[in-house]
């Protein structure tokens, strides 16, 4: 099993590398197009359907500073695929270099149990959970901006801030009694 490791490669100057993992391969493209528009730092985007990543790209792949799992809330498989991919990440990533991005959450009839499952997953791994609107340009711009904020910190481009520190503020948490058994 080949783990993706956060510090196995040297960083490049003023560069941040982000990996977008999405089983549907729908939202990642528009998000990538918006991310590389960033001018303050050089952003490289890698797109994947799932992990592990192909071995043959290992050479050419830069150090990944942030791994984003895009989960479409209207698809159960989307969640399962993200869950299965997690085990191919080095534990070091979970110190502030992973985040979850849920789409279609406003779809009022997303079963509540999916949302609970995603929140629990994000909380158990101490990762932030972002919500994004993938259908509108505004939504894409918004999501891009939020990802860039996290990415820059994760890539060590923000003085005085570390990924671990920021993640302790932004990580998702779950109400303590979500798992308690019910009365009847």
């Amino acid at each position: 099993m080949s783990l993706l490791k956060p510090f196995s490669k040297l960083p490049a100057l003023n560069t941040a590398n982000i990996l977008l993992v999405e089983s549907e391969e729908q939202f990642q493209q528009s998000l990538a197009d918006a991310l590389v528009e960033e001018t303050a730092v050089t952003v490289n985007v890698r797109l994947a359907k799932s992990l592990p990543l192909p071995k043959e790209n290992e050479e050419s792949r830069p150090r990944i500073d942030l791994v984003v799992f895009i989960i479409n809330m209207t698809s159960e498989r989307s969640f399962k695929s993200a869950e299965a991919s997690l085990k191919y990440l080095d534990p070091g990533y979970f110190l502030g270099k992973v985040c979850f991005l849920a789409t279609n959450v406003r779809n009022a009839s997303v079963p509540t149990e999916y949302l609970d499952a995603v929140r629990k997953l994000a909380a158990s791994l101490h990762c932030p959970l972002l919500f994004a609107e993938d259908q509108t340009p505004d939504g894409v711009a918004n999501a891009t901006e939020r990802l860039l904020t996290i990415l820059k910190v994760a890539a060590g481009l923000v003085p005085m801030a570390t990924a671990l520190y920021v993640s302790s503020l932004t990580r998702c948490s779950v109400p303590p009694d979500i798992d308690q058994p019910s009365f009847d």
Partner: protein, 331 residues
């Protein structure tokens, strides 16, 4: 497909608790559950419930009412508790709502009912016998009648719109927690022109300080490809029996006791159907969303339309929907 309407609500169920009303407030629909707020109020899933009981409702309702309830596809909504609603005032409400509709029409509201342009007559009545516990307020039936414009004097008026408000097996803790002047009838079913539905709703909102919201039953997006999966009832039953934890024979003996149905069993049943499907079509059904479920009990669509085809399980179905409505409403 195969998730029954009962089961799909199973998963949404939350339990009674002291923070009951508070927890309701936390789920203004999915939008309020967004965000990183660390301390959202508690939401607990009920992962197991008793097998549905059958009720012989035919003794309680007259055949006409029963036919109306079971032969119509109802569009479901939730309603927040009604302030100062009195079951004793129904006659007066009938007059008031008739007048309200007339006034709305005068103001130019287009109420298109085919062939009937004349005035509308509203009738409120009690559907007694539907309430299951002492705490459930009685179900209220609303009907709007109209007569074609050039109809003869003796021609009967025909029903152009029907609706009802009900609370079946409503959570007693929640019902008790309401201030005295509130009546909780959280489930609203309607059938007829949308224009009339919205007039009725706005009359209720103005008079009883309540709010109506959609009661979606499950997923919404329609994939470009629609798949209908119909399973032979005997085979479906055998598959269901094979995933039950309690062997079937044992269970039948204590049917009345109500053996419990576990969410795991439901999941395994669904998984079984999905994997059989995948084996043939190499298509993973969990990619899409379930939009409609039909069983012998009736059908439920994700947009909140339901049809009850078996009167014996009407009470059980409405109990689950009452629960769903209570969970959906913001207070």
């Amino acid at each position: 497909m195969a998730r029954t309407p009962l089961n799909s609500i199973v998963a949404q169920r939350r339990s009674k608790s002291k923070s009951y009303r508070q927890s309701y407030r936390s789920c203004l629909g999915a939008s309020s559950r967004l965000g990183l707020t660390p301390a959202l109020t508690a939401r607990r899933l009920n992962t197991s419930r008793r097998a549905p009981k059958s009720h012989n409702i035919t003794e309680k309702l007259n055949p006409e009412q029963l036919a109306l309830l079971t032969k119509t596809e109802w569009k479901m909504s939730y309603v927040t508790p009604l302030y100062q609603f009195r079951h004793t005032q129904l006659k007066s409400y009938s007059r008031q709502l008739s007048a309200f509709i007339a006034a709305e029409k005068q103001q130019g509201l287009a109420i298109e009912v085919e062939g009937s342009e004349s005035s509308f007559r509203v009738s409120f009545s009690v559907l007694s016998g539907m309430a299951e516990t002492d705490e459930d307020p009685e179900t209220v039936l609303l009907q709007i009648f109209s007569k074609p414009m050039f109809a003869r004097q003796d021609e009967p008026q025909r029903s152009v719109w029907s609706g009802w408000l009900a609370c079946i097996n409503g959570n007693p803790d929640y019902l008790r927690s309401l201030p005295k002047d509130f009546i909780c009838l959280p489930l609203f079913g309607s059938y007829g022109p949308d224009a009339l539905t919205s007039v009725v709703q706005s009359w209720f909102q103005q008079n009883f300080d309540c709010y109506f919201g959609p009661l979606e039953i499950n997923h919404t997006i329609m994939p470009p490809l629609q798949i209908t999966y119909t399973i032979n009832p005997e085979d479906a039953w055998e598959l269901w029996s094979s995933v039950r934890k309690v062997p079937q024979e044992e269970k039948e003996g204590k049917e009345e006791e109500g053996s419990s149905i576990d969410i795991d069993e439901v999941m395994r049943f669904m998984q079984g159907l999905k994997s059989h499907f995948y084996r043939h079509f190499r298509l993973d059904l969990s990619v899409g969303t379930l939009v409609q479920v039909s069983t012998a009990l009736g059908s439920a669509k994700c947009n909140g339309r339901i049809k009850i085809s078996n009167s014996r399980y009407m009470i059980t179905t409405l109990t689950l929907l009452t629960e769903g409505a209570l969970l959906k409403m913001p207070i």
